[in-house]
Subunit: 512 residues, 2 copies
Amino acid sequence: MTDTMTTRTGGRAARRAARAAPLAQHLRPVRPGLEGGLYRPLSDKGMADIHQAALTALEEIGLADAPASGVAHLSRAGAIPGTDGRIRFPRGLVEDAIAKANREVTLYSRDGRHDLDLSGTRVHYGTAGAAVHMVDALGRQYRECGVQDLHDAARICDVLDNIHFLQRPMVCRDITDNREMDLNTVYACCAGTTKHVGTSFTDPSFVADALEMLHLIAGGEDKWRERPFVSNSNCFVVPPMKFATESCLVMEACIEGGMPVLLLSAGMAGATAPSTVAGAIVQAVAECLAGLVYVNAVKPGHPAIFGTWPFGLDLRSGAMTGGSGEQALLTAGCAQMHRFYDLPGGAAAGIADSKLPDMQAGWEQMCSNVMAGLSGCNMIYEAAGMHASLLGFCHESLILGDDLIGQALRCVRGIEVTEETLAVEEIRAVCMGGPGHYLGTEQTLGRMQSDHVYPALGDRTSPKEWAERNKPDLIVKAALRKEEILATRAAARFDPATDAALRRRFNIHLPA
Amino acid sequence: MTDTMTTRTGGRAARRAARAAPLAQHLRPVRPGLEGGLYRPLSDKGMADIHQAALTALEEIGLADAPASGVAHLSRAGAIPGTDGRIRFPRGLVEDAIAKANREVTLYSRDGRHDLDLSGTRVHYGTAGAAVHMVDALGRQYRECGVQDLHDAARICDVLDNIHFLQRPMVCRDITDNREMDLNTVYACCAGTTKHVGTSFTDPSFVADALEMLHLIAGGEDKWRERPFVSNSNCFVVPPMKFATESCLVMEACIEGGMPVLLLSAGMAGATAPSTVAGAIVQAVAECLAGLVYVNAVKPGHPAIFGTWPFGLDLRSGAMTGGSGEQALLTAGCAQMHRFYDLPGGAAAGIADSKLPDMQAGWEQMCSNVMAGLSGCNMIYEAAGMHASLLGFCHESLILGDDLIGQALRCVRGIEVTEETLAVEEIRAVCMGGPGHYLGTEQTLGRMQSDHVYPALGDRTSPKEWAERNKPDLIVKAALRKEEILATRAAARFDPATDAALRRRFNIHLPA
C-alpha cells in the first residue's frame, strides 16, 4: 500500500542480494510435475455423460478413412469395419483399451535431468506448433520462419526453468524438401535442448531416417529405445471422425521405432467439431479413444498421450481463435476427462490471438495456462511464445512466458494448510508482546525463497524507482535476455564426433 | 490453423455484420452474478482448519484498540475486554454471529438496472482504491490524480458491461481538505455512474454530511434507506489483530445511516500478516469475523461484506506486490472461506505490479481475476485499471479490463453439459451423409452470440489483415475509446435541480 517499507540500508541491500541468489532445484518454489486438479470444470455426472456420448459416437458413428493396415489392426482388436467405409468401436472394446493402456508414461530428456513423469494430475508446460511466421516483437513485423529460428527457440527453451519440453513450435519454411525439413527439425531441436522434444513427420517414409538420426544422437538403437527423448506429435485424425490416413501410417512406424505418440485431435469448435464446449470435448474424446484403441492394437501398452486439442473459432469470422475463455474451458474440460480415464493427457493452452506480446497477449496466455494447470493437465502444449492464433512464434514472448508460467505453476502448487502454515502461534507471538509485524520472523525469512516465485523480467518496482531506472520496457528487456542466451554456447550441442557423423549422413542446414 | 476459412463473399460479409450487432441483455453470454465455485483451492479439512485457527486467534489473542463505543457494543454481545487492552471473542459468540448474519445482501444501483445480488457463488467485478497516481499510458508517465480523473473513471465504468460496480479507485489529491475530498469523491462517483458505488470516509464526523448528500441525490432519506446505492469501504482493522479506532467509529455512523459496510481487512502477507498463504487467510478471516460480530452487535442483520483482502509482499524488497500467483491464491482461498461461512464476501484481484498496460499487466490481471471468479468470489475488487501494486490507476487499462473480465466471466460461466450440448446427434448428422463440417449447422449459428464472448478491443485478425489495418496498437485503441466515451454526455448526471441543490449545499469541485 505504501512505498515506505522499501527504504534501504546497507545491511538490507546485502541481505537482499543474498536472497536474490539462485536456489537449489529441490528448494525451488515451483517445479515440473506439480500436482493440479483443484479446478474441476465438469461435475462427475458431466464427465460420465461426456464419456457415454463419446462411446455412443464411436459405436454408432465410428471413424472413416483408416488405412488398410489400421483396419486390419483395429478389426483384429474387435472394431467393426462398415460397408460405408467407417469403422465402429463396440463399447467393450473401448473400455478394455482404457483399462489396459499405459497410464504412467515417462517422456525422457536427453540428459536425464528433465524427464517428465506423466501421471495423475502432474502438470508440465511446453511449446508446440506449428507457426509459419516469426514475430519480430520490437520491429512489429511478421516474417517467414526458418531452421535457425527453430534452433534458437530450442536453445532459449533449454535455459528457461518453466518450459519443461520443446515440441517444435515452428515450421522450417526455408527448407523446401519435406524430408529434409522433418530431419532438420529433429536436428535443430535436439541440438538446442536436452529437454524432451516433440515433432511430427510429413510422410511415413521419413520415419526410418529420423530414427536413424536419433540412434546416432543416442549412441545406438538400444540407448534410444531405453530412453526415447523424442515423441511423435501425430494428427492421426482429421476431425470430424475421420482418420488421417498418412498420419496413421506415420504413427505405426513410430510405434515400431519405439517413439511415444501424442494422439492429437485438433478439431475447431464450430467448424470441424461441434460449436459447444461439451460437444467439442465429446468429439475430441471419441477421436482420442479411437486412437488409443489403435495404438494398443498395434502394440499393447505403447506410451501414448491422450491429446484432446479442440480449438476455438471466432464464429463471426470463421477464423481460429485460441486466446478466448471458450478455449480455456475446452482445454480445462479435456484435462479433467484425462483424469476421468486416468490416462496421460495433453491439451493446448497459452495461445495468444494478439499479434504482439502486448497486454492482450498477457491476459490470453495466462487465462488458459493457469486454468489448464489448475485442472491438472499433464502436458500443456502451446504454452509460450504463440501469437496470431498459432500463426506466429515470438522468441521474446517465449522468454516472458517463463515468468508467466512460473506464476501459473505457483497457483498450481496451491495453498498448504498445516499447523505451521496456519500460523496461530506466530500470530500470537507477534501480537502479544511481539514486534507487531511479521517482517523479521523466522517463518517469514524461512519462506522467502521456498514459497515465493519472483519474476525474472516482470517489474515490481515503485513508480519512483521505475522512473529512476528510465522506465524499462518489458519487450526490450526480453530482447536483451534473448541476445544474452544466444550469445553463449548451447549446452545441448552434440559432441564433435556425433555431429560430424550426423552431418555426413544427413544434409544439415544449420551451420556447424 | 489456417486463414483460408476467412475468405469472404458479399453474403458472408452481410451475415457477419448482422452477427456483430449488439445482443439483448438477457441473451448476452456473460452477465453480472454468474455462479463460480468450481475451483476449490482448499480441501474441506483445510477450510475447517482455517476456521478453527481463526476462532482460536479470536478467543485467545483477540483484537486491540477498539473504540470505547465498540468495547461497549462488543461486551454487550459477549466479547471479553482484557486488562491488556485486547478484546477477546468466545467461540460461541463468533459462531452465533455467523449464524445470524445477513447472508443475502443486495448492493443497489441508483437506476435499478445494476443491482448486485451477493449470495452463493455469484460473481461481480469492479474497481477499488486507492491509487494516488494517474497513469498516462501513451505518455508512459505517472502524475498525481484528481477529482476529474476520478469522475472520468466513473463515467467509463458506467458504460463498460463487465465492470459491475465502482469502488472509488483514486484519491482526489487536488482537494486538500479531507472533508471536501470525501464529499467530492461521493459526488464525482455518483455523477459518473448509476452503478453501485463504494467509498471510504477519513473521519467519522464526515459521514453525516455524506449522508445528507446521498439523501439529496436519492430524493429523500426514505428513498436512500430503501435502496442505498453507496457502501462504505471500511478498513476497520489495522492488521495484525488491531481495530482501527477511527474507522470503527466511521462504521458505526454508516450503520446508523443505513449504508452497507465492506469489512475490509488488508493485511500484507509477510509484514502485517503471516507470510504463508494459509496464515494470512487465517488472520484475515479472524479479523473479519471480529468485524462481523461488531456489525451485528451494533445492528443485527446490517448488510456487511466479508472483506478478507490479504495482499502479497515481495519479500526481497519488502514492497507490496499484487500481481503474483501468491496473491491469486490468497484471494481464491479467501473466496472459498466466504462460501464456507455462506457470507457475502469480497477480496482483491486484478492488481498489476506493472507500471503500464503491457504484457505483464495482462497476465497479472488475468491470473487473479479468473481464479477469483472461478472460486466464486461475490465481489472482486481492484479488478480493472490498477497498476504499480495499487499506486497507479489507468483509464486505458480500465477499458481493456472490460475485455479481460468478459473473458474471465466466460470461464466462470463454465461448461454446460446437456443432451443438446453433448451434440451426439449433431455429430451423427454432420458425419454420416452430412456436410462433414459444422460451419452452417443450426446449433453453430444459434450459439454464435449466446455462447461466445467477443473482445471489443482485443485483436483477432490474421497477420495479413492486421498489417492491412496498419497494425493497430492496443493502447491507442483504448485511448480512442476513452475519448469517445468521455465525449458523450454522462447518462448518470443528476437532474439540474438536484445538481443545483448539491452545489448550494456543498463545495463541489467538478465544473457544472
